[in-house]
Symmetry: none
Subunit: 184 residues, 4 copies
């Protein structure tokens, strides 16, 4: 397996468990079964490693949302489909979820990196923007609405991980929670 991949994986696991500063490079190298110096062949330093992990995670999140079945016939159905896709991604990838939550606003990630990775989030912004224009959603600033809707997914995922699971019914109820909040 690619060493770069092994390092990123070990980093994700350790960093969500211990936090950035409580995860020494030596611990990462041990978990990745790689020499300490090898990490530095692939990542300039610890910060760059973190940023690479952030970029990788955002990319995966973007891909997950594109798996939602959106056919444009019924806005509510499409909305819930996207909501559930993201929820499932967060539920299935607890480390990635925690990592993104924790580092989204941290000073470890440079503004430019965040800006650049925003592209993976653009489709959902567009979808909500369209909903606002068409009158399906509340007439709000689209950035604010996006943040609020995303907040409902994040809260739901947090509950999922605390509970170590959630029934199909409960998930649908939470999607409904989000939909009623956002709809016009």
């Amino acid at each position: 397996m690619d060493k770069r991949e092994l390092i990123l994986e070990a980093t994700l696991e350790l960093i969500t468990e211990n936090g950035f500063h409580a995860t020494p490079m030596s611990m990462i190298s041990k978990k990745a079964k790689v020499a300490a110096g090898t990490i530095y062949h692939h990542f300039e330093n610890k910060e760059v490693l973190l940023e690479a992990l952030y970029a990788e995670s955002k990319k995966k999140m973007g891909r997950a949302m594109q798996l939602a079945t959106v056919n444009g016939e019924n806005y509510e159905t499409d909305f819930k489909s996207i909501w559930i896709s993201l929820f499932i991604f967060y539920a299935d990838n607890s480390n990635t979820f925690q990592f993104l939550e924790q580092y989204a606003q941290s000073p470890f990630i440079r503004k430019e990196t965040k800006e650049e990775q925003r592209k993976h989030y653009q489709p959902i912004i567009d979808f909500l923007g369209e909903g606002i224009r068409k009158g399906n959603l509340k007439s709000m600033d689209v950035e604010i609405l996006t943040e609020m809707v995303h907040g409902t997914v994040a809260s739901a995922a947090k509950i999922f991980h605390q509970n170590k699971g959630l029934s199909k019914n409960a998930i649908d109820q939470l999607a409904q929670f989000a939909w009623q909040a956002a709809k016009a």
Copy 2:
């Protein structure tokens, strides 16, 4: 001013800015204008200092919510009043908000500490539980509903701090967002 208070204040400010591990005790002692050893007269070690800060912050949050005018006449009005009280506390105390968000789930805070500080949160759980029983709110697990509603406040506060402000109108709209989500 009490040295203990000065230390806690300096810690809050520095830790939200830099994170736990990127905030040396020496930096705290400098900001608090206190000798390094003095911190250890008031707090056994760095972790204990953090836990004390957590307890203090939760207490303040609890007090803020008790300022809401809840008269029991109209459930929706009371719901929004509490929602806005908490939001205002988070808006006015950005460091405390950030700190609680960041460390609520971090491994730095021992489970027992978290459990103990839950008491400050009990009134709102009771209020929502009553709403469910009375049929004002969705019939959901009260813990789940509480987490979801709290999530809307946290998202709103995050937006407030990113935007560096939010109009009265926008705040009311966000309270409405939460209410429509939660109501039966």
Copy 3:
């Protein structure tokens, strides 16, 4: 004894023996019988430690030259007296001599530090300048003459240390060597 002094002394000894990069801070701390961190209480980092040592050494050199008996009656006698004073300092302080020779032009010492420490050398420049004006010495650029005369002292000191000693006679002969070179 002052820890700062102990550290400087250990550094001088080790650095002349091994060179800057071959002398780990851990080695210095061990020789000075001081914890590694203690060095950093007295010197910001390794480079600053080196610069402090340089400044200290230049100061000592300046003091040594002021011990020469210069009465202004006979220029040749005064010239040789100064020459021998500096020679004796270099002979008696082999480490300081080696250190100054080695680091005088090294990139470790910042230009500003060198400029600043030049003051300890000013008296001899003045003395040689006066000799040129009065016709006692060759009519040359005073900086060049100073460098050449200093070179003779340095060469003599090098010989002294290689030979592990030099007779009074030989020293006088070398002072004479320098005088004949420099005199008009």
Copy 4:
């Protein structure tokens, strides 16, 4: 061009600029446009590379002095001719000069290597020895005299490089400085 030669050249340039320990093998390999491993095909390790460079440099110095026109008619003229030949070599090859000055006494060069490379210096020792015997030069230990005379060349070269040049006149004056110092 021969890779061995490229490596030696890169090493000379980098080592005079940064010093031995501040010049990683990777830096040398990059400058020489050669893979890291390739250096180890030509030189057993870093120390051996340094010693090879030392030997090469001493050889070049020896060759330069042999270019002096020495016809045995006038000792003073021959003395100055040799002095100037060496000076010109040091002036033209600033890196080699610096390197030899810096590493002549350093612990990096083994005694045996230094002994072996002394052969390139033998002709000048013989020339000065003859001058002493014939009464042209001061009656001194020939090794001491050689060191002192060489010191004047080295000082002159140092001045040359600091000044970034020196007039023909000045050079003659410095040769005269050396001659008056050494002559009987």
